[in-house]
């Protein structure tokens, strides 16, 4: 299926889901005031809002998204770049200079980081005085890095054992030339697929991280929408991030093809 069809299908699914969820949501057409008998006065009635309007923030959803997209984009891009830089560098280093001790140490560290919930990583960064989008990027790198390292290490190790690498080594390729000209191009399709998966993970992790580190991004907006049961906002946010994820996946796939 082409990219355009996938995007259209995602948009259509999102629109149908929005309409369905809004219509079937408990308390549709009424607000909290109407449900609470103590506050249910004659002045509490409110006109029903259109589906592109946030019930919680009383503003058009596109406006809210425009305001909040930049901090999330910066934090997610920074976190992904940091996670990939460190993970790929250490995976390449362990492929180039294999050492069982280092490998076991790195594996234990990666395992420890994977046992911590992302929200707790954010709290620990908060304890040590980190704040803002930088802290979100750092927490993302800490949460994603071990997963990216583990998978990229396996991909590179598999690629390093392929016959064309052995041939290049026999032809006298230097270590850096071997990595740049043979190893990385060989592993590129799988690394790109891993890149697409890491984008999905990073966007999901933005919710607890932005909420705990108090960064006014899309993740925090989703949390506020969930707390206040603002379903139109929540569903449209989900559609938007799904679109981003689908585009990232398609880009990875089209480059690999």
């Amino acid at each position: 299926m082409s990219l355009v069809w996938r995007l259209l299908a995602t948009l259509a699914a999102g629109a149908i889901l929005t309409a369905l969820l809004v219509r079937t949501a408990p308390g549709y057409g009424s607000n909290e005031r109407d449900l609470d008998i103590r506050r249910n006065g004659p002045a509490s009635s409110q006109p029903s809002l259109p589906w592109w309007y946030s019930r919680e923030f009383h503003a058009p959803i596109h406006q809210l998204v425009a305001q909040r997209a930049m901090p999330t984009a910066l934090a997610v891009t920074g976190g992904l770049a940091l996670a990939w830089l460190i993970s790929l560098a250490s995976a390449l280093a362990s492929t180039r200079w294999p050492s069982r001790t280092l490998e076991n140490g790195a594996f234990a560290g990666a395992m420890l980081l994977q046992c911590l919930p992302a929200g707790l990583l954010a709290l620990l960064l908060l304890v040590f005085g980190f704040r803002g989008a930088l802290a979100v990027a750092l927490a993302l790198a800490l949460a994603l890095g071990p997963r990216v390292w583990q998978v990229s290490r396996a991909i590179l190790a598999h690629a390093a054992a392929s016959p064309c690498l052995l041939l290049a080594r026999a032809q006298g390729f230097g270590p850096w030339r071997l990595i740049a000209r043979r190893l990385l191009p060989l592993a590129a399709p799988e690394l790109r697929a891993l890149g697409a998966v890491s984008v999905t993970l990073a966007i999901s992790l933005a919710i607890p991280l932005e909420t705990i580190l108090d960064v006014p991004g899309l993740g925090q907006l989703a949390w506020q929408a969930a707390l206040s049961r603002d379903l139109p906002l929540l569903v449209q946010l989900m559609t938007l991030v799904t679109l981003v994820v689908v585009v990232a996946g398609e880009l990875a796939r089209s480059k690999s093809a």
């Binding site: 408990p26 999905t200 949390w223 969930a226 989900m238």
Partner: protein, 269 residues
């Protein structure tokens, strides 16, 4: 290593099961003369701002987290197995539909989806219902990974020589499924279960930290960790001074670590 992890997990599970004996009230009893106290002989981990015994709540939270996260993983694996086997055995539109659903679910940023579905639950729902709903949602959203693995496993197994020979001899499809396919898929399913259980433990902890997990007054490791927020802004010294607040983290680290070690390396996320 795996034996040590299994023993540790067993000990944690025994501690969790003994919660109803140590704290029959589920850590919900308030000691109003002992509000926010540090550890003592009476309260090994102190009391919280509502005067509840933190140790009793830790054990009670362990029971909820350690029982329901694997239950959610089991639900996800069962769903994944049914869908994966159906997609692997059938060809044509059903297989395509199931594959597409699997692709779409895997592509969705699942924490957003989880929040959306969690937000559909009414605000005034009873705590036990919120508990079951939280873990049921985790189970229902986690099917796609196991389904994809099972589908690939079915394709591979169906091409194995002994299965081809059986089918050529006219063995009934149900017999092939129950006598040969399912036993061959069992290790795959066990691996998926061991990989998903810690992921769900962590997801519940994240939801608890956001105030969207198991609701008060019930305890889970996730909502117990939320107490750390009160000391986080005060710096590392305050955190070290209130070290007992880290007890749920220790439980979470030990249990998820043990589960990750028990899972085969190929399926560890």
């Amino acid at each position: 290593m795996k034996v040590a992890a299994a023993v540790l997990l067993l000990l944690l599970s025994l501690a969790a099961l003994s919660a109803s004996w140590i704290a029959p009230d589920g850590g919900q009893m308030q000691f109003r003369d002992h509000i926010n106290e540090p550890p003592s002989s009476q309260f090994p981990l102190g009391t919280d701002p509502l005067g509840r015994d933190r140790f009793a709540r830790l054990l009670s939270g362990a029971r909820i987290s350690l029982l329901l996260a694997p239950a959610a993983a089991l639900l996800a694996v069962l769903l994944g197995a049914v869908i994966g086997i159906a997609a692997g055995l059938r060809s044509g539109w059903l297989a395509h539909l199931l594959s597409a659903a699997c692709d779409l679910t895997l592509a969705l940023p699942w924490f957003f989806l989880l929040l959306t579905l969690r937000a559909l639950i009414p605000i005034d729902v009873a705590p036990p219902v919120s508990l079951l709903v939280t873990f049921a949602l985790l189970g229902l959203l986690g099917w796609a990974g196991p389904a994809r693995v099972v589908q690939a496993g079915v394709h591979l197994t169906l091409r194995a020589p002994h299965i081809l020979a059986l089918r050529a001899r006219g063995a009934a499809p149900l017999r092939v499924l129950t006598r040969h396919l399912l036993p061959e898929l069992a290790p795959l399913l066990a691996g998926q279960f061991l990989a998903l259980a810690p992921v769900f433990l962590l997801a519940e902890a994240n939801l608890g930290l956001l105030g969207l997990g198991v609701s008060e007054p019930m305890a889970s490791w996730g909502n117990l960790l939320k107490e750390l927020e009160s000391v986080a802004v005060a710096g590392p010294a305050a955190l070290l001074h209130s070290w007992w607040l880290l007890a749920p983290l220790a439980g979470l680290l030990l249990s998820t670590g043990s589960l990750f070690i028990l899972a085969p390396r190929e399926v560890t996320p």
